[in-house]
């Protein structure tokens, strides 16, 4: 497999899917390494059922153990006895049938109980991860690829499923192992010990084998995750892939990934399989011991022939679980690796949470105040510097400024998507850190810069969380933003199904729906982050008119680049490089002849009018 390169052998500036170390930088440290212990916490709720299952396992094992004993009894007592007895044989056979019946019941019980409990544990784990992700801070979510998270939520949980399913058998096997050892020793402890003398050899082999094998298994799991990540990324970005004709290069890069995955799995498989002949040789040796030593003891008359037969049965049964445990070892290792990845997600700290006893923000007014706020996403790189302003309840205030000046970041702070570095953000007179997030969410409703919609009907999308909002409310909101017309022209109107991310609507239409959604939420403070950027000025004007009525008594924070959008605002705050550069209304700012005046002039200048001065400037 050759790496991708061009004619002169240079590698491309390209990868498919992100690299492992990215993941590790994000997760990593917090993980405490005790997968099994963590796992136990998820099993605990099923303790009662599992106790019953354990009882079933015990009964099952006892019956398994009883079977060779009955056979032994049949051979020694009924067939080889001095007076072979048909009736004893009959009794023993009946006993055998009875044992088998119990065995069936116990088997069924243990399998279904453990199987279902295992399945439930998985669903619980997935739910726990998912619920946790709902609470971890956005700064974490910003950095993680959805595909990578999905690979943990589905791929890893799935790997655990395989493990738990086999562990149903494994538990029985382990108990059986203990039982067999006991019976062997009871039957004839000397022969028993001799036979079991092969077991330490097995341990010795394992000690050498384990660390290497584990590495191989982990690597296999990692490469799987890489491949899945790359696949997910290409699916999500498929339009860009095709638009940029990257199919060929991507395919080769993906091929490298997939091939590496194949190789690492084969390597892991070799490690798993090498244990098979090892265990088999040891089984053979143990049987050999029984044949020679046991045979001799029989010859001496110090051992019953039936005991020897029973030993043979037991030894076969003894190595069965060992063999299957070995075969399942790769599954187990994979499960450990997967479990680790699951717990890593659960261990991501939740930075933004309600203070104990946080107040609800119910009857506060709609004022918003920034007091000397400094904030950034990465340490040492503040995005907002000492920003202070106050928006009175009921006011409409516009936030303008060059791209990247921190407008969206400011709005994120109002909703406490992130916590400030210093200073404070106050909504309704309260520091947002002192009030409950839920009540804050009900006070502030947002139209985000990126109009994300869920797949589902138009109706479901507009009312989103307000599931009991009536159709009229929804329709009213749609009318306000001028979306009613196009919705009615969709094949099923409000019940039309939107595809993923509403890809069957135009971007402007998506923006209108996301606008309507914010209106239905009916909050005191409305944040509009370029809510009409993809909408023509005409429609926008209609919306503004309709909004006028709606905004009465509400506070509005508006971001826009088209200055026509914000001319009606009570006040305008101009941001530059994360600092408040100017404040005032349209007229006073024009008079000030600063950044706003320049931006405003630019808005309708055609590009021949550009001056040198304009060419310098923003980030």
């Amino acid at each position: 497999m050759t790496a991708v390169q061009d004619a002169v052998g240079r590698p491309p500036r390209a990868v498919v899917g992100s690299e492992i170390d990215v993941d590790e930088r994000i997760f990593g440290a917090a993980f405490d390494g005790q997968v099994v212990r963590r796992f136990a916490a998820f099993v605990r709720p099923y303790a009662k059922r599992l106790t019953l299952a354990m009882a079933a396992v015990l009964v099952f094992t006892l019956t398994q153990l009883a079977i060779p004993l009955i056979i032994r009894e049949a051979i020694d007592g009924a067939l080889l006895a001095d007076a072979p007895s048909r009736s004893l044989l009959a009794v023993l056979t009946l006993g055998f049938v009875a044992v088998v019946a119990v065995n069936f019941a116990a088997n069924y019980l243990q399998l279904t109980i453990v199987g279902r409990a295992a399945e439930h544990v998985l669903f619980d784990m997935r739910r726990a991860m998912y619920a946790h992700l709902q609470r971890v801070s956005l700064s974490f979510m910003d950095k993680t690829q959805v595909g990578r998270l999905m690979s943990r939520l589905q791929g890893d949980v799935n790997a655990l499923q395989e493990f738990l399913e086999t562990s149903v058998f494994a538990i029985g096997d382990l108990v059986l192992l203990v039982g067999i050892v006991t019976v062997l020793l009871v039957l004839d402890w000397k022969l028993g010990l001799l036979t079991l003398s092969v077991v330490p050899a097995l341990f010795a082999v394992r000690i050498v084998w384990l660390p290497r094998a584990r590495k191989a298994f982990l690597r296999a799991r990692e490469t799987s995750s890489l491949v899945n990540g790359a696949l997910a990324e290409s699916i999500n970005g498929v339009r860009t892939v095709q638009g940029m004709s990257r199919e060929g290069v991507n395919f080769q890069l993906f091929n490298d990934r997939a091939f590496e995955n194949l190789q690492s799995h084969l390597r892991a498989s070799r490690f798993a399989q090498i244990m098979v002949p090892t265990v088999d040789t040891l089984t053979g040796a143990a049987m050999g011991i029984v044949v020679i030593v046991g045979g001799n003891l029989v010859l001496n008359g110090s051992l019953d022939l039936g005991v020897m037969v029973a030993f043979m049965f037991y030894i076969q049964r003894f190595f069965d679980p060992i063999r299957s445990l070995t075969m399942q070892y790769s599954v187990m290792q994979r499960a450990m690796a997967s479990g680790q990845r699951v717990f890593e997600v659960l261990d991501v700290p939740v930075d933004i949470r309600d203070k104990p006893g946080a107040r609800a923000l119910t009857d506060a007014d709609g004022s918003v105040e920034f007091r000397d706020v400094t904030f950034g996403y990465a340490a040492g790189q503040p995005v907002l510097k000492n920003v202070s302003f106050r928006v009175e309840s009921g006011e409409t205030v516009a936030l303008v400024g060059p791209t990247g000046s921190g407008k969206t970041s400011t709005m994120s702070l109002v909703h406490r998507f992130y916590d400030v570095w210093s200073g404070s953000v106050r909504v309704g007179g309260e520091d947002v850190r002192d009030v409950s997030q839920d009540s804050l969410g009900r006070t502030v409703s947002m139209v985000l810069q990126e109009p994300f919609l869920f797949s589902g009907t138009v109706l479901e999308n507009i009312r989103y969380r307000e599931t009991d909002a009536s159709r009229e409310t929804v329709e009213q909101a749609a009318r306000t933003v001028g979306a009613h017309g196009f919705i009615m022209r969709l094949p099923k109107g409000y019940d039309a199904i939107l595809e993923q991310r509403a890809s069957n609507l135009s971007l402007g239409q998506r923006q209108l729906l996301s606008f309507a959604r914010a209106i239905v939420a009916d909050a005191k403070i409305l944040v509009l982050d370029e809510a009409t950027a993809s909408i023509d000025s005409y429609t926008e004007r209609q919306i503004q008119r309709a909004l006028k009525h709606l905004l009465k008594g509400r506070t509005a924070l508006v971001i826009a680049h088209r200055l026509a959008t914000i001319r009606g605002a009570d006040r305008i705050i101009v941001l530059r490089d994360g600092e408040v550069a100017e404040t005032g209304n349209h007229k006073s700012l024009l008079a000030e002849n600063g950044l706003y005046a320049r931006l405003y002039a630019m808005n309708y200048a055609s590009f021949d009018d550009m001056t040198k001065d304009d060419l310098n400037g923003s980030r």
Binding site: G243, L262, L305, Q542, G617
Partner: protein, 596 residues
Amino acid sequence: MALRYRWRLAIAVPATVVAASLQVLIPRFLGKSVDEAQGFLAGGSPASAASAAETQAVLLTTALLLVVVATCRGLFTLLHNYQGEAIGQSIAYELRLAYYDKLQRLGFGFHDQVHSGDLIARGMLDIEGVRSFIDQGVLRVIVLVLLLAIGSSRLLSMDFTLGLLALSFVPFVGWRATVARLLLRRTWLKLQKRMSLLTRVMEENLGGIRVVRAFMAQDHEMKKFDTASDAARKLADRRIGIRFRNTSMMTLAYFLAMALVLWVGGLKVLGGVISVGQLTEFLAFMAILQAPVRQVGMIVNAIARASTSGGRLFEILDLEPTIQEKPGAPSLENTAGMLTFEHVDFGYGEGAQARQVLFDISFTVGRGQTLGIVGPPGSGKSTILQLIPRYYDVTGGRITIDGRDIREVTLESLRRAAVVVQQDPFLFTAAIENNVAYGDPWADRYRIAGATEAAQLHRYIEQMPMGYQSLVGERGVSLSGGQRQRLTIARSVLLSPAIIAFDDSTASVDAATEQRIRAAMGERSQAQTTVIVAHRLSSLMHANEILFLDEGKIIERGDHASLLAQRGRYYDLYRLQMSGAEVAVDPPAAYGAKVS
């Protein structure tokens, strides 16, 4: 497909046969040693030294043989297991490549309709289902059948009736296996659908996490999740019930057969028909079968899962992209960039649900020229752009470049010649540099810097701590909206295509920065054909021709000056955006109808 692994199969199958035969030999040795010992016991007095030595010698050889046979069996099992897994993994590898390739080639029309969560679930879970089937299913079936065949021929030849009794559980197991397979198949089918749905719920939630947070809708989202998850869990429960009910029934049948053997065999021993050793062999052979019988359940489950998984994969793999190159189509080279729409009609979707979106669109734009398109949301502006690189095929009329129908040239050359800067920017989780060079991963540093300079992003990138190596997120969340848009501009500009179309790609960029981008582009645009969709009129008022689109029809056209002179919709829009603050323009009737 498995045929391609001929040599692996050529190793695996014989290895399976040998391993199974050796496996059957073991009970034979065991039986033999029992017979030896018993024969000795029955035959002579324990004191007879000669015969004791003889017996011991036989026992010794038997023991050695046992060890050898067991080791060989292990080795052959290793071979067949490894080859089996290798075949499974290799098939998974090929499936994965085929699946990836297919998804990359299926057009926008397909991806519009199929949820990415669903596609990911197929690529992640279903390929795994097929693999584990080949691994656990196919070869284990062979082992089981071989064990049965070899063992039963031996048993039947030893004692026909007893042999029949020993095998009497086989038909029952076969029957239950069939029933279970059908039931499991049905459950798996439903379960996989549910899992896809669950994947979709989670994927959307994580993708739209900001919306979820903005509306504090976590509880609502958890409810959605629980609905999907509980439905899946119910099916999972059912699956487990079916599977294990049948597994334990099969084991029961097997044990009952063993009881029969014990009873009838015991009688035969008593009647002197067979020896105790032979009975031991019978029972030992049956003991060997216990593990495989338990595995039947697993195999059946794997088969049921694989058949549905395979179906789901081939559903995709068998699709043909609707956008096809003509066989032997020439590539589009050295184009003069003369783009012409001739009476183009278009609608999304097929057949009954098709909705016409564009009506009779015609225009021509050549190198060094700019075409502007304006219009209200949903009027079809983006759709026009999507048609140029043939992301969709027109339903009427034709599109030509340099007079050649775009359906007559290769897709790759067309898409290199015509690039659309999409309205909804998607960035890859990778270094900024990789994102800028996405269309040409071998572009050197100067070209990359040139492109970002044109997009007014170079200076910003330079002052980031990691510069061009900084990582950006999937939808570009660690960049501001305007930076994201400029990155997508840079990525397209880098390719210097003959035709470049901007779909409202400066909506989140302030006017000053936009002017600078346009100034920088000005030099390049002499050699390019440019199409600009924008809502801000200053972005396109310099265009050679401007189309005003409404509901898929061109309702006004001309250059800026002539459009103003028409005093129509464009003029109204212009006044609204450009003139002094307080001009109230009454909307034309068409708008009123839409808004109210």
